[in-house]
């Protein structure tokens, strides 16, 4: 656990001597507005993803319409679209010189009104579209795993479908919705690329301004601490919303009885799904393809692209495995140790998710320095050290995704199940092997997928920690986008999006396979008791 927190602490230590002068300037200057912008963005994106995610989850769970099965998984795909790529496509389409406004001017005259796209609202739309799958996936799982029986009871007792949704399903899904939107808000809080395209000044942008422009490392770290504080508030609110409620899994996950939609309702349902998919992934991909095909001289050598991509993939897989390993360790440890201290400490490992990438990266660079300082500048050693450092940095940064997934699935193991196993004579290590591991496996797979996708998309850490000669697809996008070469950035951007879809597809396959997992669990339990 100490291992996970160290890089953050290293950088944080610098924050113990606040430079009063700079802070006063910040308070009297841009900071209040930055805080306000940050809070507004958090509320908008949090709200936007909850509405989108929950509505789509309910639509695909409770109703039947043509294409429903396909939409069910297709609606997870926007997870593969990094907000910074969606952001620059969105701006290219909708800014003053973009095709949409140009067309409107040619039809309605030059003074036609158009909302300001480079605004908090613009970023909120882009981020909601790329982040809603977090809420959608968790909400769907909750609706399938927890709600059916209770929902049907409510219906039988005479509630209308809407009343049952509001009174039973949503309250039961609340912990999942809270967890999903907390993840979304962490991503929003630490984003600095998308908001900068839109010229929206959040506190994270402030960190960059102070660090890169005012050369003031200490104040930058103090601002990062402020971001962390906001994150802690978000987590606090999440815990509050989750409340003391504990909903354990009863029976196998299944869909509730679906109602077929007809007429305009059917059209509306299909239209809504297509609209979200179109805006979040189809239109952006089409625009990227258009750039790819129309701009001259963008076809760089493919072998280089493949090398970058395989670097990205290797890194993503390594980081996902490492993060899962530590998550299982931490979550298991927390569960088996009766001491609250250990449990608190276990929660602490997730803190990296709320720390901006560069802060983690600098902390890890310092640690690499410690490890390699004895070795002189032996290049081979440094390459190994910095690749290991990269994986380590990702474990620190994305532990929350892995830990959250594992912990959530462990939470679903009812105390009764464990008691039963014990009663049937299984010793703790056996319970671990035959009850916890299989159950944690499902969560671990989901967590691994989320970590892998985030690593594929991640930029600031890989940019700062990578060794000589090691380029990933996201670094490639950055090189081109930072020179405003959007069209040329289309190739690596498409590579990232398509690659990130692969783990999602894997996860979906697995989800389908594990549908019988609860039954399997019962069987394992019985054998555990017998032998």
């Amino acid at each position: 656990m100490a291992l996970i927190v160290t890089p953050i602490v290293i950088v944080g230590l610098g924050a113990f001597s606040p430079s009063a002068d700079v802070w006063r300037q910040l308070w009297e200057g841009p900071l209040p507005e930055m805080l306000w912008t940050t809070v507004a963005l958090l509320v908008l994106v949090g709200g936007g993803t909850i509405v989108l995610g929950t509505a789509l989850a309910w639509l695909t769970t409770a109703f039947d319409f043509p294409g429903r099965r396909w939409f069910t998984w297709a609606l997870m795909l926007p997870l593969a679209m990094p907000a910074y790529i969606l952001g620059f496509v969105f701006l290219a389409l909708f800014d003053f010189a973009g095709p949409v406004q140009t067309a409107m001017r040619s039809i309605f005259g030059t003074n036609v009104w158009f909302p300001d796209v480079t605004s908090v609202g613009g970023v909120a739309i882009v981020m909601s579209l790329s982040l809603y799958p977090y809420v959608y996936i968790l909400a769907r799982a909750a609706m399938r795993e927890q709600a059916p029986a209770t929902y049907e009871a409510a219906r039988m007792l005479g509630d209308s479908r809407r009343a049952a949704l509001l009174r039973v399903v949503l309250p039961m899904a609340r912990p999942s919705l809270a967890a999903g939107s907390a993840l979304v808000m962490m991503e929003t809080l630490t984003d600095f690329a998308t908001v900068q395209y839109f010229n929206v000044q959040t506190v994270s942008v402030g960190i960059y301004q102070v660090w890169r422009g005012m050369f003031d490392r200490e104040t930058a770290v103090e601002l990062a601490a402020l971001v962390l504080l906001i994150a802690l508030i978000v987590i606090g609110v999440e815990r509050l919303l989750r409340g003391p409620a504990r909903f354990h899994q009863r029976g196998a996950p299944r869909d509730i009885e679906r109602v077929a939609l007809f007429g305009w309702r059917k059209a509306l349902a299909i239209g809504a799904c297509w609209a979200v998919l179109g805006a979040a992934i189809l239109v952006p991909i089409a625009q990227l393809l258009y750039w790819l095909l129309t701009s001259p001289a963008v076809v760089t050598d493919l072998s280089r692209g493949l090398e970058y991509l395989s670097n990205s993939l290797g890194l993503a897989v390594a980081a996902a495995i490492a993060a899962m390993f530590f998550a299982l360790l931490a979550a298991g440890g927390a569960r088996f140790s009766g001491r609250t201290l250990v449990r608190r400490a276990a929660h602490l490992v997730t803190v990296g998710y709320a720390v901006p990438g560069p802060v983690v990266a600098i902390g890890v660079l310092v640690m690499i320095g410690w490890v390699t300082s004895g070795a002189g500048s032996n290049p081979a050693g440094l390459v190994v050290a910095s690749l290991t450092g990269l994986v380590y940095a990702y474990v620190v940064r994305f532990m929350a995704l892995a830990y959250g997934s594992v912990d959530a699935s462990l939470e679903k193991i009812t105390p009764a199940t464990v008691d039963a196993a014990h009663t049937l004579g299984a010793n703790p290590s056996r319970v671990m092997r035959q009850v916890y591991f299989p159950m944690a496996g499902a969560g671990a797979a989901a967590g691994a997928v989320l970590v892998a996708i985030d690593v594929l998309k991640e930029l600031p850490i890989v940019l700062l920690v990578r060794p000589f000669g090691f380029t990933t697809a996201s670094v490639w996008v950055w090189e081109l986008a930072s020179e405003s070469r959007w069209a040329a950035a289309a190739i690596p951007a498409l590579l990232i999006v398509l690659t990130a879809m692969v783990p999602i597809a894997f996860y979906l396959r697995r989800e389908r396979l594990s549908r019988g997992s609860a039954v399997a669990l019962e069987t394992r339990l019985t054998t555990a008791g017998r032998s």
Binding site: Q196, D216, L313, V317, L365, V366, P379, L464, G469, E483
Partner: protein, 337 residues
């Protein structure tokens, strides 16, 4: 079934990482090489390849943001593998010099370059010039209406201006040079004047130029090579450059430059590479991005040569770089986003 195949799959995905890692390590066992951290990336590879063919010395490079690489140099200290640090702007070079991350070059070639392009102790040298000037739409603006950056505070420009956001280092350098020439308070008045003219703040230079072309604003301030790039794609692109402040100190010039790292393993190779970039390598360093060479003996790229000559602000980059933090404070104070 899945379970049995997974380890193989994972292994297959990890293999390239291991192989690449080994490949990178192998590369270090080869011949002499000079290693570069570069905040500038566009087309640099071609220049490095050319250098390798001419001298037989390989150049290995790591791209990144200027500030990030500087931070990495500082963290790595004497363990750093980098021999040369290249940036896309002056401020980060000067800061690296201030943090003692660079060492003097003591090169006759470097001292032969214009004074304002070189650090007084040769801790860094500019390799290309980027001119930040006024851009306008010729149908809606008569160049005789334009004169200086300061004049853009005139109410006649109200609602007609587009500029770059304050997070951008080029904006910061320009405002820093205003502080140098006028003092903090007068510079604040100028930026206040821009804000009072409802200047639209955009997040990159290309968008500024495209917005001018599409009629969203009439006048903007951008680096010259972005216009050159758009003209390469479309020779009829309807925006023209205007060289600002020709009756005063001249138009604001930023540099992309290089220095030798304080703990370089191969300081001699590093100096050699930088000297080459400042002489024989000038063309391949500046042409791809349509920048102006620092070496007066080298002709500029054909496209920007057509724009003729103009008076450049002779202010040494070290001067405006040292005012960078003040420039940010000033823009915050003026409410310039």
């Amino acid at each position: 079934m899945m379970r049995n195949r997974s380890p193989w799959l994972i292994g297959a995905l990890l293999l390239p990482l291991v192989l690449n890692g080994c490949g990178i390590i192998d590369a270090f066992d080869g011949d002499q090489a000079v290693r570069v951290y570069s905040g500038r990336h566009y087309d640099l590879e071609e220049a490095f390849e050319e250098y390798a063919t001419e001298t037989g010395i390989d150049v290995e490079f790591l791209y990144g943001g200027d500030a990030e690489l500087r931070e990495r140099l500082r963290t790595e200290g004497e363990d750093t593998l980098a021999d040369v640090f290249i940036t896309a702007d002056a401020a980060n070079l000067q800061l690296a010099a201030d943090e003692e991350l660079l060492q003097p070059m003591d090169s006759a070639i470097v001292s032969g370059l214009p004074d304002n392009m070189v650090h007084p102790d040769q801790l860094w040298v500019g390799l290309s010039k980027r001119v930040r000037t006024i851009m306008y739409h010729p149908d809606r603006v008569d160049p005789s209406e334009l004169s200086t950056y300061e004049d853009l505070t005139d109410p006649k420009w109200k609602g007609r201006l587009c500029m770059r956001n304050s997070n951008n280092v080029y904006t910061q350098s320009l405002v820093a040079s205003l502080i140098h020439h006028h003092g903090y308070d007068a510079a604040l008045e100028i930026v206040d004047g821009w804000v009072a003219n409802d200047t639209e703040i955009l997040s990159n230079d290309i968008v500024i130029l495209e917005t001018i072309a599409a009629g969203g604003c009439d006048v903007g301030i951008t680096n010259h090579y972005y216009l050159a790039r758009l003209l390469e794609d479309d020779p009829d692109f309807p925006v023209e450059p205007f060289w600002a402040n020709q009756d005063q100190q001249g138009v604001h010039v930023n540099i992309s430059g290089a220095g030798v790292t304080a703990d370089a393993d191969n300081p001699d190779l590093a100096v050699d590479l930088i000297e080459w970039l400042a002489t024989d390598g000038q063309e391949s360093f500046v042409y791809g991005n349509n920048e102006y060479p620092v070496n007066p003996d080298v002709a500029g790229p054909p496209l920007v040569r057509e724009w003729g000559t103009f008076l450049e602000d002779p202010l040494n980059a070290a001067e405006f770089a040292s005012l960078n933090a003040d420039a940010i404070r000033l823009m915050n104070e003026a409410g310039y986003d």
